[in-house]
């Protein structure tokens, strides 16, 4: 019984991280209908940013989140404006996808040259503290990362819900033409969406870097996980990303405990496939435009 509860707790904590690591991907897919393969590199880039801040400047990873988000915001804006927007305007969905792939190759190469391909991790002083609640033990780092993840999702949610720019983003997602008729500069909205999504990807990368070891090549994993989470929960909605992330976290830890670690990824990918075949819109359905 304790083992099951422990597994469920671990699964939820891991799921929270999966959720925050997927919201950026979800936003871009929902608003721009672009499969953004650069997502993982912004996540891993965030982790390396935090590593530099922690090991060189001695800044706590959690405190490095806001400045790193600003940097990622700027990078995301530039990347969208210079490279992705021209490809989107070609009207071919695969053109945009390939361009993000090309950008990812460049970024992975630069990260590998700068930091080498060896495994890195960030372990601040509090990273080995365990909390005990009854028979359940919880890593403090994971709990903190989970809480930060939820807070970040809440921030992004209220930005989209209540701010003027958030409203414009949602309007453009519903209908680009309609939004433009109302005087919205759709290109600026796309750049803003991409920048915001990149900032949140980098923030999630910091949290991931505190919990798990990472390498430049790891970016593929996070892009694929974001794919699964978003497909499972529903494209373009934060609730969908939350739900998908938590479910996937549970499934992943349950598989690991009861079937064996070899099968974790296989089960996760099977879920992606089955969801696509049975309910392509995800559990919550897609509130944003159909991505056909």
């Amino acid at each position: 019984m304790t083992a099951l509860v422990q597994t469920l707790v671990n699964g939820l904590l891991y799921g929270g991280i999966l959720s925050i690591a997927a919201v950026g991907f979800s936003l871009i897919f929902g608003v721009m209908s672009v499969i953004n393969l650069t997502h993982g590199i912004f996540v891993i880039g965030g982790a390396y940013g935090a590593l530099v801040a922690w090991s060189v400047l001695g800044i706590d990873p959690l405190l490095s989140i806001p400045p790193l988000m600003l940097v990622a915001f700027a990078l995301g804006w530039g990347c969208q404006r210079l490279v992705i927007q021209p490809a989107v305007e070609r009207g071919n969905p695969v053109a945009a996808l390939l361009v993000t792939f090309g950008f990812t190759l460049i970024a992975v190469n630069l990260l590998t040259v700068t930091f080498s391909s060896s495994v890195r991790s960030i372990s601040p002083s509090y990273s080995f503290i365990n909390l005990r609640v009854g028979d359940i033990s919880i890593d403090l780092v994971r709990l903190v990362a989970f809480a930060c993840g939820l807070a970040l999702i809440a921030i992004l949610g209220s930005f989209l819900r209540f701010s003027r720019w958030g409203r414009v983003i949602r309007a453009t997602a519903l209908s680009e033409l309609g939004a433009r008729l109302c005087g919205v500069d759709a290109r600026a909205v796309y750049a803003l969406t991409f920048a915001v999504a990149s900032a949140f990807a980098a923030a999630s990368g910091v949290l991931i870097g505190m919990m798990l070891p990472f390498t430049p090549a790891e970016e593929v994993t996070w892009t694929v996980y974001a794919f699964i989470v978003v497909t499972l929960g529903g494209v373009g909605s934060l609730g969908g990303a939350m739900l998908g992330g938590l479910l996937l976290g549970l499934v992943s830890t349950l598989t690991q405990t009861y079937l064996g670690a070899v099968y974790t990824n296989m089960v996760m990918f099977l879920i992606l496939l089955v969801t696509l075949l049975v309910r392509p819109n995800g559990i919550l359905g897609s509130a944003f435009k159909a991505s056909r």
């Binding site: 209908s33 499969i35 490279v83 021209p86 490809a87 070609r90 071919n92 969905p93 695969v94 053109a95 996808l97 390939l98 361009v99 792939f101 090309g102 950008f103 990812t104 190759l105 460049i106 992975v108 190469n109 630069l110 590998t112 040259v113 593929v220 694929v224 794919f227 497909t231 070899v262 099968y263 990824n265 296989m266 990918f269 099977l270 992606l272 496939l273 696509l276 075949l277 392509p280 991505s291 056909r292």
Partner: protein, 316 residues
């Protein structure tokens, strides 16, 4: 008619010229030619589906892997047969098993369109790759070894060079035949507007399934050669996302609008990476990335598209 005969003659001459090249080239260049033919073959197989119907598969490496492992396992059954028979047996196993699995997944997966088809194929490749790594029949993480089938009198790289060239010629001939058939016109109609095609009486589902199964089966047979050439396969080496991406990138660089697009793309990309970038190994990925972005933004219809545009301008 006369034009068709000219093209045919030119093709035969070109293939003959390529076939005698290994007698004059150093082993390294023969190997470059071999990898060009293999990646061109894969790209044309991928293009069979994507170019005709615009169903972009993101997981065609699934069929490479299926073909490779089918060949490896099939060869275990006939360890004593003559090498030529074993080769045919391995190729046949790759073709049939990949085609069979493609047939099974065709109906559910082809119901999906656009991005969803793309992602679903990615998922298929990921699931199969993980499954092969997890189950001991497939050698688990240690992988499987394949026998060396090249005769003693022939250089190994030249042997596989000829097989890959022959397979590429077969795949191209099939693609060419389809493009002039009822099937080809039906598939083109699906690409332009699937709903309209269906309304006009094109059996869209059947045509898509045929294209999908052909594409998968042929990829599987080339996958078998790929595995034989490697001599040793693991889940990671044949169920490899970069293989899927190479097919897409090569086709786009060459141009999606022509059968020769994928071949030209594969020749250019493989040539550039193996010959030009051989000394820049550290920045290999970044340069490939820049190349991809440049092609998509500057030459959206690929190299063939650039050439066609130039010809059109000269004709004015």
């Amino acid at each position: 008619m006369a034009r068709r005969i000219t093209i045919l003659l030119l093709a035969v001459l070109l293939i003959a010229a390529l076939a005698i090249l290994p007698f004059f080239l150093k082993a390294f260049y023969v190997r470059v030619g071999l990898s060009i033919f293999l990646s061109a073959g894969f790209a044309v197989c991928w293009w069979l589906l994507a170019g005709f119907t615009s169903y972009y598969s993101f997981g065609h490496t699934a069929f490479v892997g299926i073909g490779a492992f089918a060949a490896a396992l099939a060869l275990r059954a006939v360890p004593e047969a003559a090498p030529a028979l074993q080769l045919a047996w391995a190729l046949g196993a790759g073709l049939v098993v990949a085609g069979g699995i493609a047939t099974i997944i065709a109906w559910p997966i082809l119901r999906l369109r656009g991005h969803y088809f793309t992602i679903a194929m990615l998922a298929v490749a990921l699931v199969l790759g993980e499954a092969v790594a997890a189950f001991p029949v497939f050698g688990g993480s240690t992988g499987l070894a394949l026998p060396n089938l090249a005769p003693m009198s022939v250089r190994v790289e030249a042997f596989f060079y000829w097989i890959a060239l022959a397979l590429l010629a077969v795949v191209l001939a099939i693609a060419w035949a389809i493009s002039r058939s009822r099937l080809g016109y039906g598939l083109a109609a699906i690409r332009e507007d699937e709903d309209a095609a269906q309304m006009l009486g094109v059996p869209t589902t059947r045509f898509k399934v045929v294209a999908f199964v052909l594409s998968g089966a042929l990829t599987g047979s080339i996958g078998a050669v790929y595995a034989l050439n490697l001599g040793y396969i693991t889940s990671d080496s044949v169920f490899r996302g970069s293989l899927s991406l190479e097919m897409i990138v090569n086709s786009l660089v060459g141009g999606m609008g022509s059968i020769l697009g994928p071949v030209i793309g594969a020749a250019v990309m493989t040539g550039v990476t193996k010959l030009v970038l051989a000394d820049l190994l550290e920045y290999h990925l970044a340069i490939t990335g820049i190349l991809i972005i440049a092609v998509v933004l500057l030459a959206p219809d690929g190299i063939v598209g650039l050439w066609r545009r130039r010809r059109a301008r000269e004709a004015e």
